[in-house]
């Protein structure tokens, strides 16, 4: 049975997990970390950096480092979110050929799914390394508020990365699963997710049969751990200015160090009460002296610095409950998700607000991936009890006379599903109707998102309201929406399939998939070469170190001298292969090198008389 990985493709960090012997486990990346920054950069030399390494140069190479691509995925160029991102992002956002969004890095533009695919590809590799087997299937999580286009774009990203995305799951749902909800519990829970760049509060209704309904979701896509870091940076910069009259923000290197140190300090203060921030040689003074930054930050100070940020989260919670007409005590459990919820102040505030102790795992930034892995395992293993049913994230319907929105499939309907409604003509002698398929919560159709349209023609000429047309919405288990309209009199029918659009055509996705594969092949061969090269260089350097000694020892015999010459030849050819990056030649030389090395060691070790 093929294994399925669960991936939390986060705004700031991504995490991959798998169910191993029934236990959901997070897979560490090559550096041993359980989460990997969702960042992609292209260096000056054109090299692609993903994850921690991209993060470490995110400020110094800001123009060519993509962060928070999730804020852009599946969005239209014209959307307000994109407009906002253009103003705030340090990388260049350009319009794509289909009104979609592209990101320019150095001399190339990438679609947003492509960028996300680079992160997913990395996660896939970690899993393959860890499991020592190829992985093709994945469950990927998205925020509960993601619309069909965003979900589709996320699926496209998976496909580009070489993953068959068997299910897209809502993040709060995955988190709830990881905390063990969903097993014969019927509960209303709140999922409080404070990540690196976003805050989400979701209220889920867990029903029997594993149905997770998102009954309310809200949040702030510009409120997260980064804001906490920024407060620390401000504090450091201000203190430094007071002390040295130098503005650290002027220098990118200084700012990069400040950012890294601030985040580190913040994390440390989740477990200790005090931390020292020590940045020697952070900048040169006006008199060209190197200046050092050294300060101590206490947890209490951090709490004060970030007080309003935490308050904002709580305020959003309050509003969400009000909007959903829910009482605080109707929430039976509160689940903490996101790295920032490790902060004691955040936990305290959540406890105070909901009036109960929140469920907190040790690693709140890993629970979403764990839940996705649980769902992935359940999807391929029929013996698994837990069946998680997808629900529609937004109401679906059509536009009717007077620009009204007529809902056919309400939000949170479990899929697969099918609903029909009968409509009539709105004008006399109307021979055709236009069906506008829409998604959204608004009563006014124009405020909702148009998913597609089609026309049913050949209607009988009659007074308005006489001709009946049945409109059917059907959503299959893959989330594909089909809409048909049938003239009940004639049986004549028209239909469309509404496939969410990620902004990319099938061909484009295919091409991107190919280039992602090519990249991988190239990288593999580079890595392989690198491995051999390292080994060869080690041998060469050891051989060379022994040369004088060996020469001295064998100087007396012509025979030995010959060997020295040959050894030099071997070393030289190996070196040539390294310089030419000729993997085949290098492999060829390895044996000779190893033998020479062995020989030299033997000679050197031989007792000298």
């Amino acid at each position: 049975m093929e294994r399925v990985i669960g991936i939390d493709l986060g705004t700031t960090n991504s995490c991959v997990a798998i169910v191993e012997d029934g236990v959901p486990t997070v897979i560490p990346n090559r550096g041993g970390y359980k989460t990997t920054p969702s960042m992609v950069a292209i260096t000056e030399a054109g090299k692609r950096l993903v994850g921690h390494i991209a993060k470490r140069q995110a400020i110094t190479n800001a123009e060519n480092t993509v962060y928070a691509a999730k804020r852009l995925i599946g969005r239209k160029w014209s959307s307000p979110q994109v407009k906002n991102a253009i103003l705030t992002a340090s990388y260049k956002i350009v319009e794509g050929p289909h009104g979609d969004v592209r990101i320019q890095l150095r001399d190339k533009t990438y679609s947003v799914p492509e960028i996300s695919a680079m992160v997913l590809q990395e996660m896939k590799l970690f899993a393959e390394d860890y499991l020592s087997e190829p992985i093709t299937k994945a469950v990927i999580t998205v925020p509960a508020y993601f619309n069909d286009n965003q979900r589709q774009a996320t699926k496209d990203a998976g496909q580009i990365a070489g993953l068959d995305v068997i299910r897209i799951v809502n993040e709060p749902t995955a988190a709830a699963l990881a905390y063990g909800f969903g097993k014969n519990v019927e509960k209303t829970i709140a999922v409080f997710d404070l990540g690196g760049g976003t805050f989400d509060i979701s209220v889920l209704e867990i029903g029997s049969g594993g149905v997770f309904k998102v009954i309310a979701t809200a949040g702030d896509t510009f409120l997260g751990g980064e804001d906490f870091d920024a407060r620390i940076i401000d504090w450091l910069v201000q203190g430094f200015r007071e002390q040295h009259n130098v503005d650290l923000r002027q220098d990118r290197m200084a700012l990069q160090r400040l950012k890294d140190a601030s985040e580190k300090a913040k994390c440390e203060l989740s477990t200790s009460l005090e931390t020292e921030i020590n940045l020697p040689f952070i900048i040169s003074s006006n008199r060209n002296e190197a200046l050092h930054l050294q300060r101590t930050l206490t947890r209490a100070e951090l709490d004060t610095l970030c007080e309003d940020l935490v308050e904002r989260c709580i305020e959003i919670c309050k509003q969400t409950l009000e909007d959903a007409r829910l009482d605080r005590d109707e929430i039976e459990d509160v689940v903490l998700v996101g790295g920032m919820t490790r902060m004691a102040k955040v936990q305290d505030s959540v406890r105070d607000f909901f009036g109960r102790e929140p469920c907190k795992g040790v690693h709140p930034d890993e629970v979403v991936a764990l839940g996705a892995a649980v769902q992935g395992a359940a999807l391929v293993d029929e013996s698994k009890q837990m069946i998680l049913l997808d629900v529609t994230p937004h109401p679906l319907g059509i536009m009717t006379f007077g620009s009204n929105f007529e809902e056919l499939i309400p939000q949170n309907t479990t899929v697969p599903t099918s609903r029909s409604k009968i409509f009539t003509t709105s004008r006399d002698n109307q021979t055709a109707v236009k069906i506008l398929v829409m998604q959204g919560e608004h009563d006014k159709a124009t405020d909702n998102e148009l998913l597609g349209e089609f026309i049913l023609t050949g209607l009988r000429r009659a007074a308005k309201g006489q001709v009946e047309i049945e409109v059917t919405f059907e959503i299959n288990s893959d989330g594909i929406v089909s809409v048909s309209a049938k003239d009940l009199e004639t049986g004549q029918q028209q239909s469309i399939q509404v496939t969410a659009s990620s902004g990319l055509t099938k061909e484009e996705v295919g091409d991107m998939m190919e280039s992602a594969k090519d990249y991988l092949v190239e990288r593999r061969s580079t890595d392989e070469f690198e491995g051999i090269r390292q080994e060869a260089e080690k041998l060469i350097s050891e051989i060379e170190r022994m040369f004088p000694q060996v020469e001295q020892i064998v100087a007396s015999s012509d025979f030995g001298r010959d060997a020295i010459g040959k050894a030099r030849g071997i070393v030289e050819r190996s070196r040539q292969a390294i310089v030419k990056k000729d993997a085949a030649a290098m492999k060829e030389q390895m044996e000779s090198l190893t033998r020479t090395h062995r020989m030299f060691k033997g000679v050197v070790a031989r007792p000298q008389g």
């Binding site: 950096l49 040169s284 020469e551 030849g569 090395h597």
Partner: protein
């Protein structure tokens, strides 16, 4: 890798026999420095070809690096130099290589015209010398860590030792131990790079007796351990180049003229004396007075380059480019120097896959004079990142970063972890 048991005499001999199935390297093509002439440089090199006998004692295998090939293409456009046979010309510029490894005596067979400066020879690619017993080095130009130790400098300062004129009969290290660029460069050591006030050229007059081992100050022992002792305090004079992009040279504050000073300076930061207890005689005091400025400022660059002192040549070239940004030769020379030095430094650091760790306690690091770039680079070293990764996040010119890392290691600020994990990218 297997092999730690010393083989018996028989098996050893058998083992040597194994080499016979390995084709001998094509010495003429592979293992020689290839002489290159840049069309940008005025004259062709004019060395005579050595005898075949001599070839056996030619310099150690020197790979033809990629940039040599680049240069070859350039040279190919210049029919004159490309027509010359490979393998015979070196950039020694009238200098003798030290005695050969088999003791054949001086390279009398190489008749080299004295002090020609026209050849624009490609330097040998540095070898991946084991970092610790690598005894070649360019001088310390651009990296002012100085322990003034007269005994390391061949006794009296005027008593100059130049390995190029080393008496063949005197014990000298095998050629392989001293890649020639560095051997030649040894004579420039302690001049340009250390930022002395311009001393005049001193032709060596006395053959050297033998190499002296340096006495090692404990803290910065690494540096001296990995370096040959400077053969001469000031055999070649240079106008001291100014500090340029992180290479702190003579624009540093004037050196104290007495007592022992140790300086650590990486990057643009000015040099700050670091307190130390030892006291040594000043070397600067006995340096001769500066000569008149040369007519063509590039002559100095060329001379340093020809002598294999790439670090100083680079500093000078960059200084020149500062005033004459369009100086084509200077730019080309700087590029080659950077590439050569980068390869050399990287090989000393053990290659890009090696993982670096900070080895000096923070309070000692503070005594160093680092600029913020070096400080930034230092902050990238976390004990888990490879050199490659550090370079990726450094966001500075790769050469500059490599140089600083190299200098860090020489200073003992960082160390290389013994077992690199497989490269991750």
């Amino acid at each position: 890798m297997s092999s730690s048991q010393p083989p018996s005499a028989e098996s050893l001999d058998e083992g040597w026999g194994l080499f016979s199935d390995v084709p001998l390297p094509d010495d003429e093509d592979d293992t020689r420095t290839v002489q290159m002439s840049s069309p940008l440089f005025k004259g062709p090199p004019t060395f005579e070809e050595g005898t075949s006998d001599e070839r056996d004692t030619m310099p150690p295998p020197v790979p033809v690096s990629e940039y040599v090939q680049t240069m070859m293409q350039q040279a190919a456009e210049d029919p004159e130099p490309s027509a010359r046979p490979l393998g015979a010309t070196f950039s020694w510029q009238g200098a003798m290589p030290p005695s050969s490894r088999r003791g054949e005596g001086p390279r009398a067979a190489v008749s080299v015209p004295a002090r020609r400066r026209t050849a624009w020879s490609v330097p040998p690619t540095p070898r991946a010398d084991a970092v610790d017993d690598d005894d070649d080095d360019d001088n310390n130009a651009g990296f002012t860590l100085i322990a003034f130790e007269p005994e390391r400098l061949g006794g009296a300062v005027g008593d100059v030792e130049d390995p190029r004129f080393r008496d063949a009969s005197s014990p000298a290290p095998g050629f392989d131990d001293l890649p020639f660029d560095d051997v030649i460069a040894a004579s420039q050591r302690a001049s340009a790079g250390l930022g002395f006030p311009t001393p005049p050229p001193v032709r060596p007059s006395n053959p050297p007796s033998s190499r002296r081992e340096p006495s090692l100050p404990p803290l910065f022992g690494n540096l001296w351990e990995s370096e040959p002792p400077p053969a001469a305090a000031c055999s070649t004079s240079r106008t001291s180049p100014p500090t340029k992009r992180g290479i702190a040279v003579s624009s540093n504050p004037p050196r104290p003229q007495g007592g022992t000073q140790r300086y650590g300076s990486i990057g643009d930061a000015s040099v700050q004396p670091r307190p130390t207890s030892a006291t040594r005689a000043p070397i600067v005091a006995s340096l001769p007075t500066p000569p008149p400025a040369p007519a063509d400022p590039f002559d100095d660059v060329r001379e340093l380059y020809d002598a294999g002192d790439f670090r100083s040549a680079l500093v000078m070239a960059e200084a020149l480019l500062e005033t004459e940004p369009e100086h084509v030769e200077a730019r080309e020379c700087a590029a080659i120097c950077r590439e050569t030095l980068a390869t050399k430094y990287l090989s000393r650091l053990g290659g890009r896959a090696k993982i670096l760790r900070v080895a000096m306690p923070p309070d000692e690091i503070r005594w160093l004079s680092l600029d913020h770039k070096a400080g930034f680079l230092l902050s990238c070293i976390d004990g888990t990142s490879s050199i490659e990764e550090v370079l990726d996040v450094a966001c500075m010119h790769e050469f500059e970063a490599i140089r600083i890392l190299h200098d860090f290691r020489e200073l003992g600020v960082i160390e290389i972890l013994p077992d690199p994990r497989a490269s991750r990218r």
